[in-house]
């Protein structure tokens, strides 16, 4: 049966067909839909982990116990999971283990565009790179079999275009139940130094064997066309190269991209006049091919920044440009993503911005769309604020740091970050924006679901802890003054559900049916734009009438605009 699937849907289908027992993940674009779709297959036990390290560790445990296991994450998530990744390369597996890294060339929704093929080389594990949804599905089974055969985790490296593009998939017939491999106590599962020395030898041997396999497997296949140009490529980049060159080139298309099939590449290179390595981001294959003494064209022509596409290759390699309509595009206004109308973060940030001499240290989530001074990584909001505060205190400028993160980020890696500030005593204000869900990635539950943070935290942090409603500006203002009044850390929790959240019964009991709609009284509105400055997309200022109107379809009656209006021109009515 043929089906149109995204790469992420296809991975999930592949996991089901391949008899996967256990799947874990932390959400992150472009990887999120993998686990969401795996969860649709009841034969696979699947769960959201608090973070990527925990997801991989749990999957390692499942594989050691003899099940087939997968852990999926976005590229920066593998940084978090790097510790168990490297050691699991030494231990090897019992049941097969596949680690999925969804890279984001072009930074569609990420803070960097790191190339995680480097990780496999550093950790010394095999890499598969599908170029469309069919391969994404098929490669899952291959990855698990290779993992079991060569006794190593296999990295499945995806990119945004593979994850989020739909293409036609011929489905397999059904799920193949794979028996759980009986667990027996083995030295390799306990890598103390004396054992790890031996394991390292085994890692090198297994990698050698995998390279021999790479030279013979049909995963790495040649399609002959013109022999004037030979292209070595993998992943989405292969599709772009094929698009540009068609039959005017021959292709060595790699599915197993580490270890590289150097013998096969050498044979291919010998039969073409010119060898071009087409890869997205870093010159990884190119460097290894050159080091093997094979001449090639690569990043001397093709950019190593950003996402590739057929246009970029056509221009870089052939000097061709598609003609397009010439026009003045400067009249087009920017359309940046914004906090939704009714977002509970808006009220908090509105008051925070008024404070003077404050450095806002935020991190990764919807709240990153609000104004901030510093952001590094998930969970960094508190610890970066702590370190900065220590130095600001030495400098004597009186600057104060406010660390900010969401509830899911707090559980992801913010708890240790908070402990740092509490244990090493800095006068920072730590704010958890608890919107009761993982918002940015599309509403996954997290360990805070069903719990009340303030009660849990008061025992492990300190005595200065307060929970407020972020939509009540007076409450926010008062709480900020309170939090800045200590010579030691204070914790502020803003508790209100994400405006897009489907409310649970517990949410309804706690927050009530709060939704309404606000209206502007044009007779009272003086066009001062105080409400518009809250950044709510439901508000529009009209230059001709010098009045503001509210879009009834977007407004949920959060009432922040009404609280900032100096003329009481905004009022509520029940929707």
């Amino acid at each position: 049966m043929k089906c149109l699937m995204t790469g992420n849907e296809a991975i999930a289908r592949g996991a089901w067909e391949a008899g996967v027992h256990y799947a874990s993940a932390y959400p992150g674009t472009p990887s999120t839909e993998i686990l969401e779709n795996v969860a649709e297959y009841k034969e696979i036990y699947s769960e959201w982990a608090p973070n990527e390290k925990v997801a991989l560790e749990s999957a390692i445990g499942a594989a050691f116990a003899g099940g087939r296991a997968i852990a999926s994450m976005k590229h920066v998530g593998l940084n978090v999971a790097a510790d168990p990744l490297f050691t699991s390369a030494y231990t090897g597996v019992n049941g097969g283990l596949m680690v999925i890294s969804a890279d984001d060339p072009g930074l569609h929704s990420s803070q960097d565009e790191q190339d995680n093929r480097y990780y496999a080389r550093a950790a010394k594990i095999g890499v598969l790179e599908p170029s469309d949804s069919q391969e994404a599905k098929d490669f899952v089974k291959v990855a698990l079999e290779l993992s079991e055969q060569f006794d190593m985790p296999i990295l499945m490296r995806l990119t945004t275009r593979v994850c989020h593009s739909k293409s036609v998939v011929e489905l397999g017939e059904g799920r193949t139940e794979v028996p759980i491999v009986p667990y027996t106590k083995k030295d390799k599962f306990n890598p103390v130094p004396a054992i790890s020395k031996q394991l390292h030898t085994k890692v090198e041997q297994n990698l050698k064997k995998l390279e021999e396999y790479a030279n013979t497997t049909p995963l790495n296949a040649i399609t002959w066309g013109s022999k004037k140009v030979g292209i070595v490529s993998a992943g989405a980049a292969y599709q772009y190269a094929r698009e540009v060159y068609g039959d005017n080139a021959s292709y060595l298309k790699l599915g197993l991209t580490f270890p590289l099939p150097m013998e096969k590449i050498r044979e291919f290179a010998a039969q073409v006049e010119q060898l071009i390595v087409v890869e997205e981001l870093e010159p990884i294959m190119e460097t290894e091919i050159r080091a093997a003494g094979i001449a090639c064209i690569g990043k001397d022509k093709i950019p190593n920044e950003g996402e590739l596409n057929p246009d970029i290759l056509r221009k870089a390699l052939l000097g061709d440009v598609h003609e397009s309509i010439e026009y003045d595009a400067s009249v087009v206004a920017n359309r940046p993503p914004v906090l939704c109308a009714g977002c509970p973060h808006r009220g908090f940030f509105h008051e925070l911005q008024k404070l003077k001499n404050v450095v806002t240290v935020s991190d990764i989530g919807c709240y990153g769309l609000a104004p901030k001074d510093i952001a590094i990584c998930m969970g960094g909001g508190f610890s970066v604020a702590h370190g900065a505060q220590k130095v600001f205190n030495m400098e004597g400028s009186g600057k104060r740091c406010v660390g900010i993160m969401g509830d899911s980020t707090f559980f992801h890696s913010g708890m240790t970050s908070m402990l740092e500030a509490v244990y090493n005593r800095s006068n920072v204000l730590l704010v958890v924006l608890d919107n009761r869900i993982t918002g940015m990635t599309g509403h996954q539950q997290n360990p805070g679901s069903g719990f009340t943070l303030s009660e849990d935290l008061s025992n492990i942090t300190n005595k200065h802890i307060k929970t407020i409603n972020p939509l009540k500006l007076d409450e926010v203002k008062e709480a900020l003054a309170w939090g800045m009044g200590f010579d030691e850390p204070a914790v502020l929790i803003t508790r209100w559900p994400c405006v897009l959240k489907k409310l649970s019964q517990a949410d309804r009991d706690e927050f009530g049916n709060y939704k309404a709609v606000n209206m502007v009284n044009p007779d009272k509105c003086i066009g001062c734009k105080a409400c518009v400055r809250t950044g709510c997309p439901a508000l529009e200022y009209h230059a001709d009438t010098k009045k503001v109107t509210i879009d009834r379809n977007q407004c949920v009656g959060c009432d922040v605009c009404a609280q900032v209006c100096p003329k009481n021109a905004i009022s509520r009515e029940v929707k």
Partner: protein, 192 residues
């Protein structure tokens, strides 16, 4: 590769461009075409600009196209058509919804919304304008605006003979199918 057709759909997060692309792709696959569809989502659901590309033919390789490659640009919002016009072939056509959505920067007065977006388009390319929001509202649900625009696309690309009833049934809840069949037909008629 000349037989591969390229369609670019653009709009604003929440307008239903991705569902329209999904219905289109489903019908094309059923008709036996090789199809690739690419979308960018994630942050775009927070009111950002959204673009999807659908390619179909005998053999499609790349899921994305570059400049000057689309046979047609279908824009769910007036200014967004201007943003992506560079993707259109020189002799390609534009289907544009006569519907303006301000942006965060125009709402706050930092930038001006180009009120003459459609007039600009008409000077640059063969442009079909329809008021899909009005058509959808008259049919009973403004949310079927995306399927009205899909209908206009179907007409302009000569894809009327595909099995649209099946594609609509496959992509949406049963209670919305009848309304959207009408929306599709109305969209076709609007650019006939």
């Amino acid at each position: 590769m000349s037989e591969v057709k390229n369609i670019l759909l653009c709009g604003v997060g929440g307008q239903g461009t991705i569902l329209a692309s999904k219905i289109l792709s489903t019908a094309l696959v059923t008709a036996g075409y090789d199809v690739k569809m690419s979308e960018i989502h994630g942050m775009s659901q927070r009111g950002g600009s959204v673009v999807t590309q659908v390619r179909y033919g005998e053999n499609v390789y790349s899921p994305i196209i570059g400049q000057g490659s689309a046979d047609i640009v279908v824009s769910f919002e007036a200014m967004e058509a201007l943003r992506y016009l560079g993707g259109l072939k020189k002799d390609g056509s534009v289907v544009v919804n006569n519907y303006q959505m301000p942006t965060a920067t125009t709402l706050s007065g930092q930038e001006q919304y180009p009120a003459d977006s459609i007039e600009r388009l008409q000077k640059l390319a063969k442009t079909y304008v329809l008021d899909a929001a009005k058509i959808a509202t008259e049919l009973g649900n403004s949310k079927s605006m995306n399927v009205v625009l899909l209908g206009a696309l179907v007409k302009r690309m000569g894809l009327e003979s595909l099995d649209w009833d099946a594609a609509l049934t496959a992509c949406m809840k049963p209670q919305f199918v009848e309304l959207n069949k009408k929306a599709l037909a109305a969209g076709m008629a609007a650019v006939a």
